[in-house]
Symmetry: C2
């Protein structure tokens, strides 16, 4: 019997989850849950329900995948649903993960359910890369570089500037910094030295481009600490050349072994993604499979990607995995 | 209390294990076991015992790390010791892993112990990279490239040729093949297209170099299926420039997501190692920590790296791991 998946929230991430489930023969989507009028939501085939109806379907859903945002949706939704469903979310506000973990853990234990938070690529697969590499090379240091990719938060920040019609912002690792890290010299790098920001901006007719550029480059937190380049382009060019949501990055750990630490080693884990949200969705769905199995084992409470035995992620049998992947 | 480690076999790998344990505050080596006269074995401080004395020390060792070879040592030693100790080995004869697993599993269950086989980087961390990436991108294909690095088996094969005094062989990925794989075109690559072999050979005085080169290049299994380059150099140059045992490689998986598979993704995991054996040792020791914890959980029988929850590899607390790595 297929693992029955519910999708709670149906934006880019929710749509990606529905497509990712279609790629996996052992899983099926039994319902998409939305705050909108269900009749107005077009899926790739999954039935649509109003969010309030979810609690009537606790016996029809093995794992609920939460596809809301980290700022306001997930801090409330994940703990609430964790009492009634096995849940997976992609909560990515790094600083608030310990608090979110605690809230979800309490509710999951109350309901005797299993929960998995902060699943995706960072946090997610990059977190795993950091944990493995750090354990193998304790005498070392790791660095995470993001990009080249579109940061939606930074693109939004530019769009809020007066006179801006549309914008897309790329985060780009500074190649010389990446190369320096690979040498194993464990450099101390400032924010400015690690990443640069490139902005493609469509200005409204008659807007003061110099002012817009200045406002972007001096914006605290978002741009002021980075070397930022601003290009003004027509809307058509933005649509044509900057329509996607590519992203990626690399986790690099360098470390030393030997009697006098004379041998250096470099471990790298990198991603190059055409679609940030679809890859995140694929990771969520894969961990939903593992969560289903952990729940069947009797695991209760909130867990993270660090707790998941890798074999639970695969749809292959133990014999097949040992013969073909080990 | 520190995790008490035994080292069974004391060559390059065993020495690396002793050094790797020194890097980890929560572990200690309580004994090195050798088939040689213990008085002739110089360690970095660990006491040395004759292999036959190991069974008298079952209550003093939490995990025995086996550091013998895969061809003749481990197929006998790991099943034998698995009845009396929690054991970790680096068995790397891929085709025989299922058989080895079965033998070790039977003995570990007989003794109520936990065993972990085929730990290192391939099999080992590369296996994990293949499993994770394959689960995240089921509609895709993966490729493993090895090198640039020294293959000891191939170096030995050259040394057995008449007239050869010494030799070192490097396995090198064909860069154009690696680049082609990264495009996501899922090429079918022959053995020759994936790797090339470069040999540095010291010929004995008066030896026929043309014949040696011909014998190398036509050697079945080892060289005949590859583009091979042979350089004759003096012994001093071999010692000076080719004394180390560097290795490494990369696992690349490309896959697609989306309604029409329109979005391509590339996952890469790569290693660049100054010392093949010392990195393998570090991985063995890290998994010995995890094995100790799995045994404490009541896990019995033979397991693989796929069964190990990543958090068990870290010496950090759950809170610290969540706050600093997730």
């Amino acid at each position: 019997m297929a693992i029955r998946i519910g999708i709670y929230g149906y934006g880019n991430l929710g749509r990606g989850v529905e497509l990712a489930v279609k790629q996996r023969k052992d899983m099926e989507v039994v319902g998409v849950f939305t705050r909108r009028d269900p009749n107005t939501v077009q899926t790739y085939g999954a039935p649509v329900f109003f969010t309030d109806d979810a609690l009537k379907m606790t016996d029809k859903i093995d794992v609920m995948i939460l596809c809301g945002g980290s700022s306001t949706d997930l801090p409330k939704q994940t703990p609430f649903l964790a009492e009634y469903f096995n849940v997976v979310d992609s909560f990515d506000t790094h600083a608030k993960i310990p608090e979110h973990f605690k809230n979800v853990d309490e509710q999951a234990k109350k309901g005797g359910k299993t929960a998995l938070i902060s699943v995706g690529w960072d946090p997610g697969t990059f977190s795993l890369a950091r944990l493995y590499a750090g354990a193998f090379l304790p005498d070392g240091k790791d660095y995470t570089f993001w990009g080249k990719g579109v940061s939606q938060g930074h693109s939004d920040a530019i769009r809020r500037i007066d006179g801006v019609q549309d914008a897309k912002q790329y985060t780009i690792p500074v190649e010389s910094a990446v190369e320096l890290v690979r040498t194993g010299k464990n450099p101390d790098l400032t924010t400015r030295e690690k990443h640069e920001r490139e902005c493609f901006v469509v200005a409204k007719d008659g807007a003061d481009k110099e002012r817009i550029e200045r406002e972007i480059k001096t914006m605290p937190n978002y741009f002021a600490d980075y070397n930022t380049t601003v290009h003004f382009i027509p809307q058509e060019e933005l649509n044509e050349k900057h329509g996607g949501l590519p992203h990626g990055g690399v986790v690099i750990r360098t470390g030393a072994t030997g009697e006098k630490n004379e041998n250096k080693h470099v471990i790298e884990y990198s991603l190059k993604l055409d679609s940030n949200s679809e890859f995140t969705s694929s990771v969520l769905v894969t961990f939903a499979r593992a969560l289903y199995r952990m729940n069947a084992d009797g695991v209760v409470g909130c867990k993270t990607v660090f707790d998941v035995p890798p074999i639970y992620l695969s749809d292959k049998s133990r014999e097949e995995v040992i013969a073909s992947l080990l």
